[in-house]
Subunit: 306 residues, 5 copies
C-alpha cells in the first residue's frame, strides 16, 4: 500500500519535504492509512450554522474534545475545525491525529448575494497548534471571488513555506450562478480546476448533479460527448478536471440525511475514483457508536475500490 | 478554591504560560479571587454615549481615577476601559488591579444600519500600560462583521503572543437581525459560539431572552426540546454553546435600572452557571458607597452558587 | 509657577520622559511660559481655504517666515502648520519656538457631506523638522470618523514612542449632525471626551453654544441640571468632560471678527477654566503690530485667571 | 544569429544581468532559438474558461505534463501557465524549457462590466518553480485599470530585482471601450505603448483590426496618413508604438479556428515585423502531432522574415 | 550667476545635502544652467494620449532615444518621462542630462468624473535609473484628491530620504470644479499653495486665466484688489501663492499650438517672474531643428528677465 502514498506524493514535486511529511502524515493515519484514500471529519458547523442547529441533536458535540476523540475512534485521516475548537483540545490531543485548521468561516447571522467568509485563523496559528494542514474556503461565482483567491494565494504561499499542507474547499456560489448551478457538473468540475490551479494540495468539492449551468460549457459537453449520466461518471470527470488525477479530490456530503442516501452517494464517489469523503453533520449529529459505524462503512466502501 | 482556578486554566492548553499568568491574575484578584467567578467594572460609556449621559448622574465619574478606585474598593476582578481612561491612571494604579484595554469603541455621533467600532488602541498600548488583557467588541449580524472578526483575529494572535489575555464582547446587531433578535436566545448562544471559535479566552454576552430569532434555529430548538423558559435555562444553554463550559462566559447588565431588577437578573445568571457579571452603568452611576454595596451583593450571589 | 507645569505633567503618567520634555517645552515657552496657560498660532488656512482668502488681507503672510516670526514676537507657546510651511523655515527657526506639524488637512476644492482630511505629513517628518508635537484633526459625526480615529491611533502611538506630544483638533461635522449642532454644548463636550479617550495630550475644540443637539443628551442635561447658560459654564463642562480637568483643553476662535467679539469670547473661555486659546485668522490677517497687541491681550486675559 | 539576440538584449540596458540571462534563455530556446523570433505556448484556459471547454477536445490536455511536453516537442521558446499547472510539473521539467508563471487570472463564473483578474501567484513562486519570467494581464479600458497597473508595477519591480523577465498581456476591455474597439488599431497600439511604458520586457497584444475606436485618434491617423489597411501595416504600427521596435511584441491568436485562418494571420504578423506568436487553444486543442505541425509552420513563417 | 542657485537652494533648508545636490544638478544643467531659470522637456503623452496622437506628427518621437537627445541638444535643464521611456535609454544617457521619473500617469482609455492616475513607478526605480528627481501629478478638485495627496506624501518622504528632488504637477480637475475653473486664477494659485504645503521642491502648474471660480475667493480678490488682469499679474500672484517666491514654480504649455501663441504666453510667464517652462507637445511634435529653435527662444525669453 505504501507505494500508493509514494505515488501520490510524487505529484507534489514543487513542494519541499516539510509539506510532503504532513501530506504523508494524513495519508498514513487512521483506518485507511496507506491506501491513498481519505475520510476526514470536519466540524465547523458551530460557526457556520450556530451551536444549537449543530450540536443539539447529539449534545456531547458541544464539547470540543468530543470531535477529536470521534475522529480518532473512527479512524479518520484528519480532523478539521476552526481556531477555537482546535485551541480547546490542541494540547491534550497533540500529535494523536492530524488536524487541519480552517482559516476562514462564514456565520449565518448576516447573508448577502455575494458571500465571502471571514478570515479567522493564520498559518502561524496552525503551526502553534501542531496542525498538519490549513484549510480555506473559496466561493467561485461570487463577486468577491478574486479577494478570496488572493487571500488563499497568500495563505498557501506562507503555509507551503512553513511545511503545511493546503486543503481548499471550492464551493461555487454567489450572484454569478443559479442556486441549482452551484452543484452542476460543469461548475463543480470548474471549481476543482480552479482549486488545482490555485495550488491546493487537497481539494474538497460537493458531489455534482447532472445539470449543466453554462451554455458555453454545454456546447462542448455535448460536442465531445462527455459522460455525466451517473454519479461515477461525473466524479470521474471532476477528478480528470483536477489535473487528470494528479491532485487529491475529496467529496463532501452536505446536510444530514438517512444512512442509505449517504452510503449510496459514497458508493458513487468511490466508483468514480474519488479519493475519499469528508463527512461532518452526518457523523457528529448521530450518537457516537452510530457515527463510528457509519464512518467505518464509508471507509470500507472507499477501500473496496482499490 | 485554588483548584477551580487551576481547572479553568487547564482549558487554555493552546496558550503559553504568559497568557495563563494574566488569566490567573484576573481570576485571583478581588473579593471573588480564587472562586472561578468574576465581577468586572467596564467604563467605556464616555466614549460610547458621551460624557454627560455617562457621568452627570454621579459627577465624580468624570475623573478617570474614580473608576480605578471604585473597582479596587469594590473588590472587582478587573477594570476595563478605553485608551484615554487607562492612560490617565495607569502609573498611579499600576499593578493594583488587573486592567483590560478596550481596543475598539463606537461613539453615538453617527449611526448606521451596519455598525462597526473604531479601533482605538493596540496590543502595544496594553503592554505599555501594564494591562492583563485586551478587550474587543464584535457585532455579529452586521454587514461589517467579517472585518471585525478579521481585526479581532490579528489582535488576538498578537495579544496571545505577547502573553495578554483576550476578552471578547460579542454583541449581535446590524441589518441581519431584528432589534429584539439581538438578545434572542438562539442569537446570544450563537454569539457565544462565534466568540469561542474566534479564540477568545473570556466571552461577554448579554442575558438572553426567550425569543428565538431564526427559523432554522427554532426547528431544532423545538425538535430537540432545548430548555429556554427561564433565565437560568438560557444561561445554561449559552454556557454550553461556548464549548460546553470550557470557556469563561460573563454576562453584562445593560442600561441602568433599579437594584431589584439588577439583582434578580444576576441571580438567574448565577443559577444558570454564568461565570460572573460585568457591571458598568449600574455601578458607576450610583454614589460610590451604593455602588460598592451593589457590587458586593452581586459578588455574593455568584459566590453562593459554588 | 513651575509647580503648575509639574502638576500638569503629572497627568501624563503613561508617557515616557521624552513626551514630557516636549510638553514642558510648549508649556514653558513664550509670554505665558510656566503659567499652565497656552496661546498658540495655527496657520493651515492656506491649505484649508486657499492662499488668497488666507493671506491677501495681510500680504506678508504669504511668506512662511512671517508666521514663525509672528509667533515668536507675540510670545506664543507654539506655532502649528502643515508640512510645507514648516519645511520652509525649519532650519532658520530651529529651536526658537516649539512647532506642531499638522499631519492632516482638508482643502476647499471639493466638498462632501462626510468630510475627511488628507494625511499630509508623518511622525518622521515631525522628527526631521525638530517639532515638539504632531497635530491631527478628527471630524466626529462624519461617516468617515472611524477611519480618522484609526489614523490618529496609529499616529499617536508612533508619536508617543518617538517622544512627541500629540495635539488633537476635535471638530464635529458630517452627516450625523446638524450644522448648528457642530458647536452644541453636548457635542463639543462629547468631542472633548472622544479626544481624551483617544489619547490626545492637548485637545482643541471650538467654543460651545447653548444648544443641545441630541435628545438622549438633553434628558440628562435637564435631569441633572447641568449648567450651560453662560460661556464660562459651558467651558467648565467641556473641561470636566475631558477627564475632569486632567487633560489640556484649548479653544479655537473661528472666523476673523472684530477685536471686541474675540476678546469677549476669550474672557468667557478663561473664566470657565480653559487652558488657553489657539488663534489663527484673527492674528495673521491683521497687520503684525495689531496682531501682537491682540495676542498679548488674549494672553493677559488667560493669565488674569490664575 | 546570436547577433540578433545581443541586439535585442541591448534594448534592456536598465536591467541587471540576471534579467538578461533569462531573456536570453527564452530567446535562445527552441526551434527559433537565436533568431530573435519567439513562439510560445500559453495554457491558462483551464482557469479562464473551465476544464471541459479547454481540454475535452483533446483530452490528454487535462494532464499538466502534456503541455510541458508539447511545448518542448514543438520547440517553443517558452511555456506559460498559472501556478497549479507549473507546480504540477516543475520538478520533472525543471530547466528543460523556459517557463513563465502567469501571476493573475480570470475565471468565467462571474462577469462584470469592468473586469480585473485575481492575483494567483507571486514572484517568489516563480523563483521557487525555476521560471524564466513572470506573466501578468492588464485590461486597459476597465475602471479597474489603475489597480491592475499598480499591481503590475509592484510585481515588475520585484521580478526585475530578482532577475526574472516580465511579460505583459495588454488586453483592452471594459466599460471604456466598445466590444469591437478592443482590437481596434488605435487601441491595440495604445495597449502596446502602455505595456512598454509600464516597463514590460515582452508585450503580448492581439492582432489589430482596421477599426479606429477613438475620435481623437482618428483625426491624427487621418491627418498623418498612418497606414493601417493591411495586417502587416497595422502590426508595423503596433511595433512602432512599442518604442519604435525597442521592445519585444508578440501577438496572440485568440479562439481556435481553422488552420488556414491561423496561418494567414501569422503571415501578416510576421510580414509586419512581429516578434512572434503566442498560440494556446489552436495548439493544445488539436491532436499532438497536428499541433506540432502547426507550430512548426508558424515558426517557419516567422523565420522566413529574417 | 551661481549666487542665484545658492539663493534658491537656501529655501530648502529642511532637506539634506543629497536633495540639494540633485536640485543643483538640474539648476546648473543646460543652456539656462546657473540662471535660476529652468526649461524642461516632459514626454508622458504616449501614456496619457496614446502613441499615434503623440508621435505620428513627428515620427522619430516613437523612439525613446529621440527625447533624451532632444532634451540634451536643446539644452534643457531636465527630461521627464514615465518608467518605460526612461528605462529604454537610462544606460546610454546615464548622467548626460538630469532625468525626472514620472511616478503616476493617466491613460485615455477610460475616463471618469473624478480622475486619479495610476502609480507606475517607484522611488527605487528612480534611484536605479540614476534620476535627479521623481515627478507626481495630483488633481485637486477630484473626489480622489486625498488619496493622491496621501500617495504623494509617502513618495515625497521616501524620495527626500533618498536624496531625490520632488516635482509636483498640480493640475486641478474633477467633480469639484467647472471645466473652465481648472485654470481659473484662484484655482491655479490654490493648486500652487497645495503643492507647496505638500512639500514639493518644484511645482508645475498651468498658466492661469482671468476667471475666478469660487465665490468665497472672489470676495477677497475684489476686496483686496488682487491684480489679475494680465498674465504677468496672474503669474506673479501664483508665485506669491507658492510661499511668496520661496518655491520653484514652472508653467506648462498645454496643447500644441502655433509658435507665436506659445511665445507670447512664455513672455507673460517670464515677465510675471515664473521660474521657467515645461514644454512637451510643442517641442517633440515639431521637427527636431524647429523644436530646438523654439526651445532656445523660450530659454532666451526667460533669461532676458534676469
Amino acid at each position: 500500500m505504501a507505494n500508493r502514498v509514494d505515488e501520490i506524493l510524487s505529484w507534489y514535486g514543487a513542494d519541499h519535504p516539510g509539506v510532503l511529511k504532513n501530506l504523508r502524515w494524513m495519508l498514513e493515519s487512521g483506518r485507511l492509512g496507506g491506501s491513498g484514500k481519505m475520510v476526514m471529519l470536519p466540524v465547523d458547523q458551530g460557526f457556520e450554522h450556530g451551536p444549537g442547529r449543530s450540536f443539539a441533536r447529539n449534545a456531547p458535540g458541544y464539547d470540543p474534545f468530543y470531535h477529536f476523540q470521534l475522529a480518532i475512534d473512527a479512524g479518520c485521516n484528519a480532523y478539521a475545525a476552526p481556531l477555537g475548537f482546535l485551541e480547546a483540545g490542541a494540547r491534550q490531543f497533540a500529535g494523536r491525529i492530524p488536524t487541519i485548521l480552517k482559516l476562514n468561516n462564514s456565520d449565518s447571522l448576516y447573508s448577502s448575494a455575494d458571500p465571502r467568509p471571514a478570515v479567522t485563523g493564520s498559518v502561524e496559528d496552525a503551526l502553534r497548534l501542531g496542525c498538519a494542514a490549513v484549510g480555506f474556503t473559496i466561493y467561485p461565482g461570487s463577486s468577491e471571488r478574486n479577494e478570496m483567491y488572493g487571500e488563499f494565494r497568500e495563505i498557501a504561499e506562507d503555509a507551503k513555506a512553513a511545511g503545511l499542507a493546503v486543503v481548499l474547499w471550492s464551493y461555487p456560489r454567489g450572484a454569478g450562478l443559479s442556486k441549482e448551478g452551484e452543484t452542476a457538473i460543469d461548475i463543480i468540475a470548474y471549481a476543482a480546476q480552479i482549486a488545482a490551479q490555485l495550488g491546493a494540495h487537497i481539494i474538497k468539492v460537493k458531489p455534482p448533479t447532472e445539470l449543466i449551468e453554462q451554455d458555453a460549457a454545454r456546447k462542448v459537453y455535448e460536442a465531445e460527448d462527455i459522460q455525466i449520466a451517473t454519479l461515477p461518471d461525473r466524479v470521474r470527470h471532476v477528478i480528470q478536471s483536477a489535473f487528470d488525477g494528479r491532485r487529491i479530490v475529496i467529496f463532501s456530503g452536505g446536510a444530514a440525511r438517512g444512512t442509505d442516501d449517504v452510503l449510496e452517494e459514497v458508493r458513487g464517489i468511490a466508483e468514480g475514483g474519488g479519493f475519499g469523503s469528508i463527512m461532518g453533520r452526518n457523523a457528529f449529529q448521530r450518537p457516537k457508536s452510530e457515527a463510528i459505524e457509519l464512518l467505518h462503512t464509508v471507509m470500507d466502501i472507499h477501500r473496496a475500490q482499490l
